[in-house]
Symmetry: C2
Subunit: 362 residues, 2 copies
């Protein structure tokens, strides 16, 4: 169970407690598949239980939603790109455990359905599916009246999805046990906040510009347009890298919890750390949100991706082919640092400060 | 794509249009898996596309939620049973295509999380998972603030799930092509409204009793308690019937659309109909909702399950073993009628009236 969006304005302890409770109940159900197809495969500490053993095939299944980013579509009237955010959230979680995403279903909860908005949302999901190379095999539109709220007039909605993927035959799950001290960390550029940490972003915007903050100019667009920036889908690149024989030892999808929160999970099995001196810098609009909200860097790096949507770890000899393959496919990538035997995650930010977070202590 | 809850107060045409739009976009993504694992298997009319072909294994994947039944938990303070509703919605859809449910993930959208309520919800889901014999392999709790609404104080939430199942080796999908004229229709008793048609139920209740309708007495309980009645999970019975060699030709999970809406889908491939003279009668509280709301029988049977949560079709010789197996497991079951060559669905209700609906016209 992942926790909710890391947001300093929310009570993370309460969220953590709720997630822990949910995970504990879920774990007790694993025995229901003992000796049967679909038995969860337990990794170290039970962390990779969403791998399931089918006859001859290992499958992963993950569910997530776009959170309050839906409000950006309501504010801008642009609904076509959220499918990329939704798709990215689930398929990029699958490649993070070493699986190839295969099929997706989605649930759209609406107050009152507007078919033209649904058309735009699903059109975008279809475009994202082509990028992710998955089939959308099911969906549900639930009209829930005043159980759904949102911004302004028009259809309000919350949108979530589930994806399943397969572990290619003969491949090991990327559960952190392949990661070694000395491995290089390659960062993949993000284009924006993806779908995480929007509760705080929205609060900062409202405090700064007032209720109609989305109309305020930002770069060549508006704050609404910039914050809506669709998520880059990393899955096809990661699948291709593996297919081409690039020996990736770990994949980190930087979602709620930011770089240190998500990287620590990968480092835990082997008790490792990381020294990251050359991450991509945060986008200027990310820095502006930090400054206007008075969000210190320690917190920003735990809430948002800060320009780095995915990290790949690999033996140093794999870096060349990895960067070449990424460049050939139009994914900005760079070496961001190395894996260390010391179990701390140290980030050197562009302003020269050094941020230390707990690494993969066992 | 299924449509939203069949509710006479909603614009079904608008919902149908939205669902059709969503399904069309989804179908265009199937080509993304051509020649690869997870290719959707197209049945007649594209209806059973949520079967996917994996190497050596056919899998089904389905997503659904409990709709506005969540409000009943908020009104009564009883959160422990909704897991049975959520589980039933997804696993009973899987056995309806001939698959054995295996794994489930869930997404809980909340305004502000209350760990003690989450504990009750997940405890119930865990109990339902044991009944359904599935493992809960993932979940997400998303704190969405005022994007989520509900009744009274306390945590408000919407809850959905995705389940995957496998088609047992050598078994055909139950896509309607095995159904034959002369087959018996066996009805499985429902205990209440399951998770469908609650928007209308709630409207009738509010119009009859006012805002605090859930406190009004009903049978030995209150309306709140009676309407919260958890869904019976049919999946384990259906799996056991197949395992024991009962030759079931079709399974209908009676959700939104009621008996005729869901049965018609099964009858379409072979252009058949059904004559149903001995369905279970609606529960007395269902009749009371009909009467108080002025809902005519034609509409009631298209909105609600009316006491029959699942229908099984089979050659007449299979009825004996089927009823015996159901009784042994505590599932009330009875012969409800027969499959006819005439493509109309005719229901004879207990008050002697005859309701005709379109059957499986190709």
């Amino acid at each position: 169970m992942s926790q909710g969006p890391g947001d300093s304005g929310l009570d993370l302890n309460r969220q953590d407690r709720a997630s822990a409770v949910a995970y504990e109940w879920a774990q007790r159900t694993f025995a229901n598949r003992k000796g049967r197809a679909g038995l969860p495969i337990l990794g170290t500490g039970g962390f990779f239980a969403n791998l399931m053993d089918f006859p001859g095939t290992v499958i992963s299944m993950t569910s997530d939603g776009i959170g309050t980013k839906a409000e950006l579509a309501e504010r801008t009237g642009i609904y076509r790109t959220l499918g990329f955010d939704l798709m990215a959230m689930v398929v990029d979680d699958l490649v993070a455990v070493g699986c190839e995403p295969v099929n997706v279903t989605n649930i759209l909860d609406v107050d009152t359905v507007d078919p033209s908005v649904v058309d735009e949302l699903m059109h975008g999901l279809h475009e994202a599916a082509a990028v992710a190379r998955v089939a959308v095999v099911g969906g549900e539109i639930a009209e829930l009246g005043d159980r759904i709220g949102g911004w302004g007039d028009g259809m309000h909605f919350n949108w979530c999805a589930t994806a399943i993927g397969i572990l290619p035959a003969g491949r090991s799950p990327l559960d952190g046990r392949l990661v070694a001290a000395g491995d290089a960390v390659v960062a993949l550029r993000s284009d924006g906040f993806r779908s995480n940490g929007f509760s705080l972003v929205r609060r900062v915007m409202a405090a700064t510009f007032g209720a109609d903050w989305h109309r305020e100019p930002c770069e060549a667009s508006t704050w609404g347009g910039v914050l809506l920036t669709p998520s880059r889908i990393y899955a096809p690149l990661v699948v291709d890298l593996a297919t081409e024989g690039v020996a990736i030892s770990g994949v980190v999808h930087v979602t709620g919890g930011g770089v240190p929160g998500n990287l620590a999970r990968l480092l835990r099995p082997n008790g490792l750390g990381a020294d990251l001196g050359t991450l991509f810098p945060p986008h200027s609009f990310m820095r502006e949100v930090m400054q206007r909200g008075g969000v210190p860097p320690e917190q920003a790096y735990r809430l948002w991706n800060m320009g780095n949507g995915m990290l790949l770890t690999m033996p140093p000899g794999q870096v060349g082919p990895c960067l070449a393959a990424a460049e050939a496919r139009g994914y900005p990538a760079r070496v961001a640092g190395t894996i260390t035997p010391d179990p701390a995650i140290v980030l050197h930010t562009e302003d020269g400060s050094e941020l230390a977070f707990p690494g993969g202590r066992r």
